[in-house]
Symmetry: D2
Subunit: 126 residues, 4 copies
């Protein structure tokens, strides 16, 4: 999905991940703004990878839930989404995400709180 949206990894640090993408008409809604779902997808990935960065190597990460707030219209040329672990845990990790237009990094467009679950081994099933 990251390829489908044209998302690039900008930075990966323990507990923090930055993803970036350019404006593309394929990602917009009916008013030409970036679709809220795209913002959610990018921040969910950033939060998930940030959580994953603090887990044992053989663990997978699954999103349990997330909440997205849209604070400003998602317009501009390039966007950055940062995921940061607020509270790591053996089973559950809570992370927060912030998405900005790259040229106005102090004006959040969207914020996320996400709960992620560590899954031992590769066993992801119901």
């Amino acid at each position: 999905m990251m390829e489908t949206l044209g998302v690039e990894v900008q930075a990966i640090d323990p507990g923090s991940v930055v993803l970036a993408f350019d404006h593309d008409d394929r990602l917009t809604q009916q008013h030409g703004l970036i679709h809220a779902g795209v913002l959610g997808t990018v921040l969910d990935s950033a939060c998930g990878w940030a959580a994953r960065s603090l887990m044992p190597a053989d663990h997978a990460v699954l999103t349990v839930e997330y909440k997205l707030n849209l604070l400003r219209p998602a317009q501009g040329e390039r966007f950055h989404g940062t995921g940061r672990v607020m509270k790591p845990g053996r089973t559950l990790t809570v992370a927060e995400g912030v998405l900005v237009e790259t040229s106005t990094p102090d004006r959040p467009i969207a914020t996320m709180t996400a709960t992620l679950m560590a899954v031992a081994g590769r066993g992801i099933k119901d």
Copy 2:
């Protein structure tokens, strides 16, 4: 964005909208499941259009916030996402969304609660 994801409108009724899409490798995450962000995007659209269906014709709808819960792995061939207005309002509308694999409609994969705002005229700005 709906085109980018291959989403089709299945049904539009006052206060309720159903969207559908097929499995596509372009929509998956690292384990081959549909990316949580796709589920969020489809349900956000379904909730937004459901809200829009009860607003005056010259009003636009903006997502204020949404919360997505992932209940089961998003695997299968075809998926349906339904948005339904829980509480319409002059300014704010609350809607709920449910996403299922089409062959197992009683087993929700993801649920959403979304808050949508009516914006009079076409003026969508900060």
Copy 3:
């Protein structure tokens, strides 16, 4: 806390719990409505007990997170809050809650989605 708020258990079934309380000036905010936090407290308890009702007897239940939507002003004489398990799980359970004024059960005042965690034994620690 249930005693402090004057909350009574109305019904306990597997996966579903109903709590009730009367209007009391001690529970109101500055406009005489029941404080949103009271609605959250009652629905959190109802969701937690509903989740607990489907867990092994030696497990405790902890709230991971919840989201509360306020749909209508919380005014009236008596209120009912229902918690219902949407998806039980070995580790995580997702429940939803609805709070109504008792005389208008079809007009939800507040709705909740909650994620609950089962904790084996009595060990609740950081």
Copy 4:
């Protein structure tokens, strides 16, 4: 409700409010921890008053929705809840809240994101 819980106002600044309360057995759940609903109530009030502090004097503030994440067990002697406006708006304001035990201010026990609505005049109705 703030009186019922024994909550004191610690600080009020434009866009930021700090509330405090002491441990009290009346506020606990079945394991002796402070009930999650109390944390939600205090943070909802802190967020609401923080939002109110940036609104015109004749406006009231109503909570539209909030999400609470529980990060650590709520135990200790005294607690502080801070509400801070993230994005003020003419109609909607988004605020975030953090609750800590007073002696460990860098270890959040609970975090909130809240959406608040300004209501002109004193008219709070359905």
